[in-house]
């Protein structure tokens, strides 16, 4: 393998990049905080409900089966001036709730007919309560994901949660949830999963062909698209990426963890790449990958199939209780499976789930002699020099000694 300067290793830098235009266009989709794509969907689907939801995960297929568009809301990123949102949160609370409120105050979320707040942490939970108080005229609901993974206990409770919200959506004008429609939605979700798995596989095997920052843009577009449209987009991108001309370079293969909720600025992901890291796996955009594997789209009881997907095949992440498995084992396996040489923990500042989890994951990596480093960010972080130096030093150390020492 030859060594190239990291900045030269960016496939998209070539003038004839067959995927460049598409990436540019898709970037526009995710940067559009006024949710133009959702407006467009509503114009094309009169009476259709657009239902926003906070990270990480809600069971989207049941909403699609009811003719709704689930819309993932990730706050305001680095493009939103926080004018009112800050006055609702103390300085020691992460950034995403304040920028999400800012979006709502500035009416950019008005296109949404409702908001769901899944149980991933106390901040999102309390933000759900604030929503009820600040926007009493708008529909919102808390989605309690079970931490008891027994089908007859947590499973039944979770099915009840889904039915409860489905009944609310019917009251708002959605069509009732039927088994056939849910089976069809599960089938669509399987197609998306297949496409995303191909995308992930490609960047694992040929990271020069698809950079993490590009995979991120393509995956995140699913926030504002129907499953069908998103699947088509991912597949189109895969076809373009296949046309890229191979380039060789010598980067360190890393896994990034801790970024499942508040998203880092895209420039931060690119900074990591420019520091000599190929991010071959990450938990950015975890919601769409939360269920590992496929649904049985012919299940006799498709609602319980949706429930089982979460109970049995939910990904190991900080907001999910790890009952019997060894903490961090899933991460070690993942690192090994994708041939990564190290892990970068990148967590939002003040993110309890990520930061409380991190020492346990680090211990598991230490046991497996996998090097790691950690950094914190805010979605509006604008300075990357320190991160660049830290990630550069990490990748150099791993390259030279196979460890972060």
């Amino acid at each position: 393998m030859t060594t190239a300067h990291p900045s030269e290793s960016t496939a998209t830098a070539t003038p004839h990049d067959p995927a460049a235009a598409m990436l540019e266009e898709t970037r526009g989709l995710i940067d559009d905080l006024s949710l133009g794509a959702v407006h467009q969907w509503k114009a094309e689907h009169p009476g259709g409900l657009a239902i926003g939801y906070m990270p990480i995960y809600v069971p989207r297929p049941f909403m699609e089966a009811m003719g709704c568009l689930p819309v993932a809301v990730f706050g305001g990123g680095d493009q939103t001036d926080i004018i009112r949102g800050d006055s609702y949160f103390q300085s020691y609370i992460c950034h995403i709730p304040r920028s999400t409120l800012e979006l709502a105050f500035s009416k950019r979320l008005d296109v949404l007919d409702g908001m769901l707040f899944p149980s991933i942490c106390d901040v999102i939970r309390n933000l759900g309560g604030m929503w009820q108080m600040l926007f009493p005229e708008r529909y919102s609901a808390y989605v309690d994901l079970p931490q008891d993974f027994d089908e007859t206990r947590g499973g039944l409770f979770y099915a009840y949660e889904i039915k409860r919200i489905a009944a609310d959506l019917v009251r708002l004008g959605a069509r009732p949830l039927t088994d056939d429609a849910l089976r069809a939605a599960l089938a669509q979700e399987n197609l998306r999963r297949t496409a995303l798995m191909k995308l992930d596989e490609l960047r694992r095997v040929e990271p020069w062909r698809v950079r993490a920052s590009e995979a991120y843009i393509i995956a995140r577009a699913g926030s504002v698209l129907t499953t069908e449209a998103h699947t088509a987009l991912v597949n189109r991108f895969l076809a373009r990426a296949a046309e890229r001309i191979p380039r060789a370079y010598d980067n360190v293969r890393v896994v990034v963890r801790g970024s499942f909720c508040e998203q880092p600025p895209l420039a931060l992901i690119r900074t990591l790449e420019a520091s000599g890291c190929d991010i071959v796996d990450d938990d950015l955009q975890l919601g769409l990958r939360f269920i590992e594997g496929m649904f049985d789209e012919n299940a006799a009881d498709p609602l319980m199939e949706l429930v089982r997907g979460y109970l049995r095949h939910g990904v190991a992440t900080a907001s999910r209780y790890i009952g019997t498995d060894v903490k961090g084992e899933a991460l070690v396996k993942r690192v090994q499976a994708c041939g990564a040489e190290g892990v970068i923990f990148a967590a939002a500042s003040f993110c309890d789930p990520a930061l409380l989890d991190q020492p346990m994951l680090e211990a598991a990596l230490d046991r497996a002699a996998i090097p790691h480093t950690g950094l914190k960010y805010g979605e509006n972080t604008g300075q990357f020099q320190v991160i660049r130096e830290q990630a550069g030093a990490f990748s150099d150390a791993v390259k030279l000694w196979g460890s972060a020492a």
Binding site: D122, G128, D148, P359
Partner: protein, 438 residues
């Protein structure tokens, strides 16, 4: 998050000869005895269960002769004994982030420093971790961290959150199912015996009696002057019932005694005890939201007591059980009532429900002011408090105050700054009174 100080910052009531300090002495003895029992638990062959204050299942544990250890209490005790700073530093040295709950770090630091408990004796290692996941996400992480240290089983009880402001039959069933099929069998296995439902019912009846008396104590603050301080003094009152004693005869006696003392004080039109002796003049009646700071607890208290500010109601004293909304443990429906207890703890309530509760306290207790002590550690309490502040002001017309500190991290208790804020706030209340505002 919670609350059983056994150190006694309140001076004994000088030489009144009255029984007003009896409950305090009794409380201290009870909790001291519990720690004593814990220190010899292993030699005595007693099994130990670590669990949390909110959503604790003390009656169940007691019925099976199991001893509870509550790590939040160890952390707060370490805070009061000025040990928490070193424990937190130890945990941060081990890689725990400065951004997360300091109770967790204090506990981990204590464990790594030899596991010496508040009475100076070693705490027994757990035979089982009972993760009652009630109203705080950190609980889950905390016990995952403890599980890494101790080689013992963990049982999870997932208590759903009252996101929509109510307990549904499905939520209750989910908790009861877990109790019946997971929690109780695991506890029975540990105890080596079957749960005697009659004994459990008897204990729930004892809980109910103690809860009745505790509510009377809280309600005494409606009297002017209030005979209690429902926050700084209140954390002592909740000691027995929030820790190892709910469902025991000792707790029933303690709360009878406490209630009698308080009623006597009320009859004599006396104010509460303060760190400097009995309060002589009630100038301000406050409601406080948020946990106290433990590292400078007495200093913090004095900022109020020396100005004649009495806390007539607080939310923190409801974290281990909200009884003044009418809930009581019910011997007729043991498991359902344990489920309802867990579901009803303060931090398991939605933000609108918490706001409504505070509004009610401000009105019912005729408070002059409402103050939030926002702690850096605790997202469960803190996220959303600024909205609560605005809402309460808007709904009641009572002015709100806001200070920031931490539970057990001494770095976040800026005494001068907090004192300034408290004083300006009280002066503002004074000026309002002068203007005749209601």
């Amino acid at each position: 998050m919670t609350t059983i100080p056994i150190l006694d910052p309140v001076k004994p009531a000088a030489s009144t000869g009255s029984s007003k300090d009896d409950s305090q002495v009794r409380q201290k003895e009870m909790i001291g005895d519990h720690f004593e029992r814990l220190s010899t638990a292993k030699e005595d062959g007693r099994k130990v269960v670590y669990t949390f204050v909110p959503g604790n299942l003390t009656e169940l544990l007691r019925s099976l002769d199991l001893l509870p250890v509550l790590p939040e209490i160890n952390a707060l005790q370490a805070g009061m004994r000025k040990q928490s700073g070193a424990f937190i530093a130890e945990a941060e040295k081990l890689g725990h982030s400065e951004d997360v709950c300091t109770y967790v770090k204090c506990d981990i630091g204590m464990m790594k420093s030899g596991g010496i408990g508040p009475t100076g004796k070693r705490l027994p290692e757990p035979d089982l971790l009972l993760l009652s996941y009630t109203g705080c996400f950190t609980f889950m992480k905390w016990f995952e961290l403890l599980r890494e240290q101790y080689n013992c089983p963990v049982v999870m009880l997932h208590v759903p959150y009252q996101g929509e402001g109510k307990v549904t039959p499905e939520m209750r069933k989910y908790v009861v199912d877990q109790l019946e099929r997971d929690v109780i069998p695991a506890l029975e296995k540990l105890a080596g015996k079957k749960l005697d439902m009659k004994d459990l019912a008897r204990r729930l009846d004892l809980s109910r009696q103690a809860e009745d008396d505790l509510v009377k104590v809280w309600e005494s603050a409606k009297h002017r002057p209030s005979p209690i301080d429902g926050y700084f003094g209140g954390v002592y009152y909740i000691g027995p019932i929030f820790s190892a004693f709910r469902g025991t005869e000792e707790a029933v006696e303690y709360y009878k005694l406490l209630r009698a003392e308080v009623e006597e004080r009320m009859a004599r039109n006396e104010g509460p005890m303060t760190p400097d002796g009995p309060s002589t003049k009630e100038r301000y009646r406050l409601v406080i939201e948020g946990p106290p700071n433990w590292t400078s607890f007495t200093d913090f208290w004095r900022m109020f007591s020396r100005e004649g500010a009495t806390v007539v109601a607080s939310t923190y004293t409801r974290v281990g059980g909200l009884y003044d909304d009418g809930f009581r443990h019910d011997p007729e429906n043991p498991l359902e009532s344990l489920a309802d207890y867990c579901l009803g703890c303060y931090t398991n309530h939605s933000l609108p429900a918490r706001t409504a509760m505070i509004e009610k306290y401000v009105r019912d207790y005729e408070a002059d002011g409402f103050l939030i002590n926002s702690v850096k550690s605790c997202n469960s309490f803190s996220a959303g408090q600024l909205l609560i502040l605005r809402e309460i002001e808007k709904r009641t017309g009572v002015p709100g105050g806001f200070v920031e500190s931490d539970l057990v991290d001494p770095r976040y208790f800026g005494k001068a700054n907090i004192e300034n804020r408290v004083q300006s706030y009280l002066q503002m209340l004074e000026a309002r009174k002068d203007r005749g505002a209601t």
